[in-house]
Symmetry: C2
Subunit: 339 residues, 2 copies
Amino acid sequence: MMITMEMNRVITFVKRPIGKPEKENFEFKEEEYPRIKNGEILLKTKYVSVDPYLRGRMKDADSFIEPFKLNEPLISMIIAEVVESKNDDYKNGEYIRGMLSWKQFQSHSGDGINKLMITDKDIPLSAYLGVLGLTGLTAYLALKKIGTPKKGETLLVSGAAGAVGSIAGQIGKLNGCRVVGIAGSDEKINHLIQDFGFDAGINYKSSKDMHREISEKCPNGVDIYFDNVGGEILDTVMQHINEFARIVNCGAISNYNKESVPKGMRLEGIFNEKRAKMQGFSVLDHTDEFTEAVEQLSEWIQENKLQYDETIRKGFDTIPSAFIEIFEGKNTGKMLVEI
Amino acid sequence: MMITMEMNRVITFVKRPIGKPEKENFEFKEEEYPRIKNGEILLKTKYVSVDPYLRGRMKDADSFIEPFKLNEPLISMIIAEVVESKNDDYKNGEYIRGMLSWKQFQSHSGDGINKLMITDKDIPLSAYLGVLGLTGLTAYLALKKIGTPKKGETLLVSGAAGAVGSIAGQIGKLNGCRVVGIAGSDEKINHLIQDFGFDAGINYKSSKDMHREISEKCPNGVDIYFDNVGGEILDTVMQHINEFARIVNCGAISNYNKESVPKGMRLEGIFNEKRAKMQGFSVLDHTDEFTEAVEQLSEWIQENKLQYDETIRKGFDTIPSAFIEIFEGKNTGKMLVEI
């Protein structure tokens, strides 16, 4: 690795968003190129994952993950290459995955990151941030632990064309469920049915009567609602759930950019009447099950039973805009930036 | 049993309530005294249980229990004495418990009712409709199956002076929890603390700042919320829950008399952030665990570890008004009518 005289580029968080994130929340800075000490490694960023949950860390509020600090680099899941090593555990050319800073290059102790064990050359590196990363793990483990799909049940997925939803729906099919996806365009719905094997889809943006559409497409009611969006769609779905339904509360993207808690339908009466369950899920609570989950997901990919989408933006400069695009619904599947 | 020439009295359901139930929803009728056929028994009503969930059966709506039919007798859990038997399984003088009609006397096949095995004379007959009936079973099984109390956790109970809430709180104490009750008068709060061993109480009617009171009385946050009321108190409590909190959705009495689904705070964001769970509960889904539950509850009563209240109205004519009184908060503990 030749050390150039160029400066290292960094994206810092300079202003907490009010509502939807905007470019003004981010600032590109330059810093000296990092030098590593004994025991450290030098990492070159290859793929950066941008995810809705990062919006939560932008609030200065008590949450299960520490809020981002102002004027410091943002952090997300990143795949990087080891380009210099003074740590016996790492060799040049190895790939690692970890929660890293939005920097072109960074020094690292090597603790708290994982080497990628890339055994199958048919699975590209980027998949380790998506279907084999936190999004695929979220779909798999949330469905397994809360959704508990059974053969013949109906699984309804919101945000179905998104990174988590599209995998959750396919896993529902692999478990023998009827799977219906809610998404925001006819193209997405067609894609879900034709490429991902969903049984039906509902375009919530063009639908004039969501109740009628849910009734038609889930004729036996909804046993599992894998919810990535919350809000009014949740209220509507709740009126179609079966007894003992499970609501996998995997995200509430419709609320993330709201500054105050929005009002909606009181759902507790329905939960009581149907003896239904709603449970929030974060994959970070289940790290002990990651190995088993990655093995299962890899097996399905290799057997061609699990498809996945990536929306890949290119270049370090596109990271903030790629993040903002998620909230505009511009991605299909996992949104990544390739450096 | 001497057959008198008196007529048998019956309470029928004549008008579906809009909002709070009123006397006009009920009508007293007389019918001929029942005669039993071979295989049947004649039952004399002794204790009638009146419960909030009956309000749900008064709606002409799809529910997990069939709605009451107009111009037919109402039905609830009743303790009756066998006063005549042409069924080898039953003898005169035995007591049974079952879902029976609001009649002074009724014939019955003997199917779907249970003989009371009254082993301890210190436990009065009426307890078999309360602490050893569906209300005690609800408190015990809902807490066991959804609340999963652990030593040192904080259990907050709404409707804490009610039949279910007062038992749930005491079972929380027996499991080593800090237990805080929400009720509607200072008398009820004092009663919960002095007689039932609750650690603290909150009078929601006189409180000027529920948030401050919950913070003060649940200084380590809320791990389990045993909710009998729903509504605004639920919204308030949700802002004080800990990670992995369990909301036992045992009832939503604040909504029962509402004709349309009321609006409230959107809770899905909090569920997601805290990875909390809300689950509706009906004891009728868990009949296979009744025997074990009654044994445990009886043992605690005999060991003087579990106290219970009854509000007993007297006379067949008081059944409708006793039911209406529940919605006015006039009962402490289980509301019963003794005939």
